[in-house]
């Protein structure tokens, strides 16, 4: 997806007791002026909570009011945490639809939310539940500071080199929490005869850090790009769609055009299936549906490959909704997991709605393409008792190829 708007004026922090930048105020006005509020009806948080304070309209209007002297930054501490950063409001915003086409300026709520979380954190105004988020950041930072072997321990026995023209980037969440996902990815690629490597030391990429300490996150981003370049990467395959959105949407604004192509794993696997390099030997006789990851579908406009892969799976009966209609849904985790950590109850309700919807279309398996979705749905399934199994699409591909994961 082409990225239309980077707003330089977001770089100036909004500070307590200081005047809000005029450009920011005008930008917020454009959303306030639109009383269509298409952003609202499909916001997964709004669907559950019915509170429009936590919508694109609410965020922009609150800031506009602040710029007009009607606001108090410290009162906003719990406002911005209600955003999943899923991006549906940006896509449905009439300003994006009209202005994006003709003037190449779009609404950028996700950027604004990240900026405000950062600005508030810098002034010591943290949302309730931030300690949990800080703990994750600290854990991930400890990984970054720890030995290289830990970071690649998920790949033990796979015999992957630390260099190559094709590199697979595996983030810490996948490397430590959902190892079955990168393992499936690596085994599929190996079975298809793809020669690829992994980084000896991938650096921290988590979104929680990005919206808390931008400098530290950017520093790690630069190191990742440099390391991939040094490893000889011409193509980088990404296994986590959150990281995919960071690589294609965020990294270029800090390091310029990347010196390699970035491909999401489902696109790469889909091409191998089409080329006949991946061969299926076993059917997957299940009724499935597919949940588009927000980061892939809404933030990056990438939704075709998972559908084509599922269509190619032998024996699988699939009932999959249009990607646009899925804008209304999220698994409940959010693109930064801060939402789930700070608002577990809302997060759970969002997950239940999505699982129920999968149940309505008659599915027994909910396929996902994101490790966070998988984890979130697994938890929601256990808590709610809704009998839909969340399975990662790569695990099914591996299964049909006859690979043990």
């Amino acid at each position: 997806m082409e990225i239309l708007s980077y707003k330089k004026f977001y770089e100036d922090p909004v500070k307590k007791g200081e005047k809000v930048d005029d450009e920011l105020s005008k930008d917020c006005y454009n959303v306030f002026a639109c009383r269509h509020k298409f952003c609202r009806e499909w916001c997964p948080d709004y669907v559950e909570e019915g509170n429009e304070s936590y919508t694109s309209y609410g965020y922009h209007t609150g800031l506009l009011a602040l710029s007009r002297g009607n606001g108090d930054l410290s009162e906003m501490k719990n406002a911005y945490i209600h955003c999943l950063e899923c991006g549906q409001c940006e896509l449905k915003c009439p300003n994006t639809m009209f202005g994006g086409d003709f003037y190449r300026v779009t609404t950028t709520t996700v950027d604004l939310v990240r900026k405000m979380r950062r600005d508030l954190h810098a002034q010591g105004i943290d949302y309730d539940g931030f300690e949990e988020v800080q703990k994750t950041i600290d854990d991930f930072k400890a990984h970054d500071a720890g030995p290289d072997e830990d970071l690649t321990s998920w790949a033990a026995g796979l015999d992957l080199p630390f260099e190559g023209e094709t590199m697979m980037f595996v983030d810490y969440y996948n490397a430590f929490q959902t190892r079955e996902v990168p393992i499936a990815a690596a085994k599929i690629l190996k079975a298809a005869g793809v020669k690829f490597g992994i980084l000896k030391h991938p650096h921290i990429t988590t979104g929680e850090l990005y919206e808390t300490d931008e400098d530290a996150w950017v520093d790690a981003a630069k190191k990742n790009v440099e390391a991939l370049k040094e490893a000889g990467a011409k193509t980088v395959i990404i296994v986590n769609p959150h990281e995919y959105s960071y690589f294609i949407k965020e990294y270029p604004r800090y390091v310029g055009e990347l010196p390699f192509d970035v491909v999401f794993i489902t696109d790469y696997v889909n091409d191998l299936i089409k080329a006949g390099t991946i061969k299926f030997v076993k059917p997957y006789n299940k009724k499935v549906t597919f949940h588009d990851p927000c980061s892939l579908n809404k933030l990056c406009g990438n939704y075709k490959a998972p559908r084509e892969i599922i269509a190619a799976l032998p024996g699988t009966h699939a009932e999959i909704e249009d990607p646009v209609l899925q804008w209304k849904y999220c698994c409940g985790n959010g693109v930064s997991s801060a939402f789930r950590k700070a608002l577990p109850d809302v997060s759970y309700k969002i997950g239940v709605r999505r699982l129920k919807h999968a149940n309505d279309v008659g599915a027994e398996v909910l396929l996902v393409a994101c490790p966070h979705c998988k984890d979130m749905f697994a938890e929601t399934k256990t808590k709610s008792g809704i009998n839909i199994e969340p399975v990662h699409i790569l695990e099914v591909v591996a299964y049909c190829m006859g690979i043990e994961v």
Binding site: A33, R35, H36, N51, S53, A65, G71, A79
Partner: protein
């Protein structure tokens, strides 16, 4: 007219009752932070940003049930606290815009669809349900709730009732006032009543008693709060067909509008005329507009929905009339494109041009007068004359975006029209002086409408500044406003519901 003075009502301090409100609806549903309150000050543009603080409610309450609404109203009535109900906040008459702060009762948390009855063809909903989302559910059983305003994807049922909204498909399938079978209302004293007809909540018709249900259409939050409604659903039309005809002059388009209006075609959704100024505006400033032949000065659009047989017959009939009236059929692309964007003609940031042709960001506003057929040309020409006078004087601040003319009444295509002039306004640059200029423009438009025998409003309501004084002095004369005041006082003895709205403060 006498200035608004709220001091005589002896209102209590909302800040003293926050804990009681939290006890009623739960602490998480009571919001006192400035940004939560400030964002619920405005409804639709234009909003007086220069005096935002005057309209910020003291507290926002999100009730979750009828009982909670009732308890909030009892508390408010006991301590004389102003209450302003708020639906989607997309009403164009400022119904949800607090004139004296108070409690903002945001009804959107009550958004459950309670029952779908596919035998009696009704759906029972809470007030926070949006029509587009409702129709997704009804679609599964082949039903359809036909209320179709520009704010279709945004507005909620409670607001549609409170503002007596108007639907672009109303000429075919009725407006909200024709589509509600019965409803539950919480009165200012906290009393809960069901208003409807007959012994069930699903009976549509009765001659017994006063028509109390209708009284609660368009009260703009001054008489109570709707907490549940039973809606009349129609079968989903088999086919829909919009068609688009070009005319060389206003006169020809106007005469054609009349002839198709009285043609007797029953499956019309609506007939819409775009006047010459509207076509000029679209050519000038709408980058998405599909170019029309230069000879086209005005357009008439006819849309039908129903069974395939009746729509085919209607197409043929209307095509014959249009040809006779010198209309040129403009093809399907134009018509489908325009029909699909009917929900886009609504408040948003728009780019206009100033006198030098430079792009200026403004926001959309439309006046929604009702006009009888015979006076329509004088009225629309007069509207442009008024607006242009202000555009010439205040470049960059106002813009004339032309008129749409729709059939006005429910289930008919003749008699009167919604004659809508779209005025763009630079809300961001608003100053106290410019605001007064804006109100003068509104007054001139309202006076012209009433002088020519029409109404100030057919779909929004007329309680905005600039409208309301003309309304009281010119439109609701011969005892009507006097009767409104008596009703208001009867229902709301302490004037707590949306005080000042429709100048009903004058009742006390």
């Amino acid at each position: 007219m006498e200035k608004m003075d709220f001091s005589k009502f002896g209102y209590g301090k909302v800040a003293d009752h926050i804990e009681e409100l939290k006890d009623i609806v739960g602490p998480e549903n009571v919001m006192t932070a400035m940004h939560d309150r400030a964002m619920r000050a405005a409804s639709c543009a234009p909003f007086p940003m220069q005096r935002w603080e005057d309209h910020i409610p003291d507290v926002v309450v999100l009730p979750g049930s009828t009982e909670e609404v009732s308890e909030v109203m009892k508390l408010a009535n006991k301590y004389k606290l102003p209450v302003v109900p708020r639906g989607a906040g997309c009403g164009l008459a400022d119904g949800a815009f607090p004139l004296n702060k108070g409690i903002c009762l945001d009804m959107k948390r009550m958004n459950e669809i309670l029952e779908v009855d596919d035998i009696n063809r009704t759906v029972t909903v809470q007030p926070g349900v949006n029509m587009q989302e409702l129709n997704k559910v009804l679609d599964k059983v082949g039903m359809y709730y036909p209320d179709d305003p520009a704010s279709y994807g945004t507005a909620v049922i409670g607001g549609r009732i409170g503002t007596n909204g108007w639907s672009v498909g109303g000429a075919g399938s009725g407006h909200p006032a024709n589509l509600v079978c019965s409803m539950e209302v919480v009165l200012p004293t906290g009393e809960v009543v069901w208003l409807g007809k007959g012994g069930s909540r699903k009976c549509r018709n009765s001659s017994a008693g006063y028509r109390m249900l209708e009284l609660f259409f368009g009260h703009q939050g001054t008489l109570g709060v709707v907490t549940e409604a039973v809606l009349d659903c129609c079968p989903k039309p088999e086919v829909e067909f919009p068609s688009y005809y070009g005319f060389a002059s206003y006169e020809e388009a106007y005469n054609a509008l009349y002839q198709i209006g009285i043609s007797g075609v029953k499956c019309a959704v609506n007939y819409i005329m775009f006047d010459d100024e509207k076509i000029d505006f679209l050519r000038r400033d709408d980058e998405a507009f599909i170019p029309l032949p230069e000879s086209v000065k005005c357009v008439v659009m006819a849309t039908f929905a129903g069974t395939e047989g009746e729509v085919l017959a209607a197409r043929k009939k209307i095509l014959g009339i249009m040809k006779k009236m010198k209309g040129t059929y403009l093809g399907e692309e134009q018509a489908w494109g325009d029909w699909a964007t009917r929900h886009d003609r609504y408040h948003l940031a728009v780019h206009c041009r100033d006198g030098q042709g430079q792009v200026v960001t403004m926001s959309w506003h439309c006046e929604d007068n009702c006009m009888i057929h015979s006076e329509l040309p004088e009225f629309t020409h007069g509207l442009h004359k008024i607006v242009k006078k202000y555009v010439d004087k205040y470049d960059n601040i106002f813009n004339d975006a032309g008129c749409f003319i729709y059939c006005g009444g429910p289930y008919r295509t003749w008699g009167d029209y919604l004659a809508e002039v779209d005025v763009f306004i630079n809300e961001y640059a608003m100053t106290p002086e410019l605001w007064e200029v804006w109100l003068d423009m509104k007054r001139e438009i309202a006076e012209l409408a009433v002088d020519l025998g029409g109404s100030i409003s057919i779909c929004h309501g007329a309680c905005r500044e600039g409208d309301v004084d003309v309304l009281i002095e010119k439109e609701l004369v011969d005892g009507q406003f006097e009767m409104m005041k008596k009703i208001k006082k009867l229902f709301d003895p302490n004037n707590i519901m949306n005080p000042g709205k429709y100048r009903l403060d004058l009742a006390y």
